[in-house]
């Protein structure tokens, strides 16, 4: 097993003592809409992501489409930030690059001390495996596997023992309040439950960074708030950095930092003071 320094600390955190229960409404999370613009915003600790003059072009017909036009950003450990913008603004493209699922055309993206453009396919896979968690709009759970097995999958890649896996999976399911659904399969779960499984799967290995692309797009308001509170609580308890790509007002309301993208540029970068 190959652990990065970034999640070594969080692995030692006894998660059973987090006291996170579902529903998480009693955590006292307050939404604050009194935002003020600061450039650049400061992170919660050391720097986890740095992008400099990040450009991404896609071939389109005989020409090219520039999705990102020189993005300079920095994220600190433990941030709860979001890339906000309409479709085509470049937020998913930026998220993909930061998640080492894609590489920039020009410029540099340093994630957890590693330059994404210089990573080999194997290196990118290792970065994702050890340090990154993903949450998708449509959950993307493995339909034939149980809740337990879906959450367990990232740990299989990290070669944990069966006993370790069981403990970690049950802990993760406890965070999202799904310990009674371990044997259920995704088709039997509601949308909110599926997304909670996806959060547990993203969090089970206690990654340094979680990238969430429109995580509430398929959920109703009540479920959205539950999911967001869960993530907010995990962010607070585990110091995991959360980075969203969204244009959902419900999500935006929970963000501590809002980065507005417009046509591939950073239009505004706001830090929200609680």
């Amino acid at each position: 097993m190959n652990e990065s320094n970034n999640n070594a600390e969080s692995k030692n955190t006894p998660l059973g003592g987090l006291g996170v229960k579902s529903p998480l409404g009693d955590l006292g999370v307050e939404r604050n809409n009194n935002a003020e613009t600061q450039t650049p915003p400061s992170g919660g600790g050391g720097v986890i992501i740095t992008t400099s003059q990040l450009i991404k072009r896609f071939p389109m017909g005989k020409g090219e489409f520039t999705a990102l036009k020189g993005i300079d950003l920095e994220f600190g450990i433990g941030e709860f930030a979001g890339l906000i913008g309409p479709s085509g603004s470049g937020k998913t493209t930026l998220l993909n690059i930061l998640g080492s699922l894609d590489s920039p055309t020009e410029g540099e993206a340093i994630v957890l001390g590693q330059s994404v453009s210089k990573l080999s396919a194997k290196g990118a896979a290792r970065l994702r495996k050890e340090s990154l968690g993903f949450i998708f709009q449509s959950y993307n759970l493995l339909q034939v596997h149980t809740v337990f097995e879906n959450v367990e999958f990232p740990l299989l890649l990290l070669n944990y023992t069966a006993a370790e896996r069981k403990k970690m999976v049950m802990d993760a399911l406890e965070w999202v309040g799904l310990t009674d659904k371990v044997k259920s399969k995704p088709p039997k779960l509601s949308g909110g439950e599926c997304q909670r499984v996806a959060i547990a799967r993203a969090m089970v290995k206690r990654p340094s960074l979680v990238l969430a692309d429109e995580p509430t797009a398929n959920l109703d308001a009540a479920n959205s708030h539950n999911i967001l509170k869960t993530m907010e609580n995990l962010n607070r308890q585990l110091k995991t950095t959360f980075l969203f790509a969204t244009h959902d007002e419900k999500v935006i309301g929970y963000l501590k930092r809002k980065i507005f993208l417009k046509d591939g540029y950073v239009d505004k970068d706001e830090l929200v003071n609680n």
Binding site: A121, R128, N140, E152, P154, L156, L157
Partner: protein, 424 residues
Amino acid sequence: MIKFLIKGLLRDKSRSRIPVLVVAVGVMLTVFMHAFVTGYMGDTIEMNARFTHGHVKVMTRAYAEEMNQMPNDLALLEVDELTNKLNAMFPDVIWSPRIQFGGLVDVPDKNGETRSQGPAFGMALDFLSAHSAEVKRMNIEKTLVRGSLITKPGQALLSEKFAQNLGLKPGDEFTLIGSTMYGSMAFYNFTLAGTVTFGVEQMDRGALLVDIYDARIALNMENAVGELIGFLSDGFYNNDEAKAIASEFNAVYAETEDEYAPVMKTLAQQGTMGQYVALVDVWTVYISMVFVIAMALVLWNAGLLGALRRYGEFGIRLAMGEEKRHVFNTLIYESFVIGVLGTILGTAFGLLFSWLMQTYPIDMSAMLEGATMMMPTQIKARITPDTYYIGFIPGLLSTVVGSALAGIGIFKRKTSQLFKELEA
């Protein structure tokens, strides 16, 4: 991880049961078609073997040189001893004595004067020995038109057309006028037991079938036969096996220069049968390969589509940090397992149906009545060693290659592209 993948494979019908069934059906059809084509194409050879050539044939060297003329003056002598020797050397081969001869069938009237006459093509077989399989081998019972089979010495069968031309009916007597193996005139009276139709113009025009015992007396061929024909134990001609037997036998007489020494020839070494055997082999391979390729394409596509359908799943796994190579390898392992299971299942069922059609052939004799060419009257399959592994080409190879081709997409696409397909 292996347990995780196996669980996924077993639980997802579209990844396991359905592909296994598709592969099994494809392989079953391939195996059965191969056995069917082999059996059907080979049946023409078997028919020739049964009637005249045998799988191997022993005759004197001199007879072999003039084989087309059926020169009984060059016949094998001391046949009992030779048969014993052949049985000792090749216990799995079934030997049958045959005499082919020409002559004139003379039908007398009430006064003993000739009422009608006609040239006959005679064939003497072992009708009456208890162990003889000649009647069954020649399918004579099925060709019987009137009367009965030969049940005692002195009886004969004539082709129906020939008997009608001569005005003969079962129970009538006639005389065979021919020549003995020593060249003198031969006269021998027969009683017509029945008439037969072979469906072959040349034979129906003047065929005369008699018991070998009577022919030996009539033609003065005591303990002699024109030919000793041998049939391989499984009832099917195998050129390699026949050649090996012939070589072993001929090696015994290699040193002698006696033109009456026995020589063994395989079916393929007789007349133009060699060309026909080669032709059948080539066509059997061509037809089988066309079907194998067709099924391979079907299963290739099945493998391809099965893997393409899973790009979404691959996207999830890649996002979790699984390496592309590992995803690809697991895809290949899965398709290998599916290919092996489907192929074993398909081959088992294919062999079962082939065996049924080999053991219980479809009898087409009723439909071939009046046919003017010699055709097999039974449609049957034939299981050969190839039948056991032919299904692995489409079943295993194509499934794995199809999956591998689809899997290349994992490497060709950017991971984020797989994600777009995943989200779609």
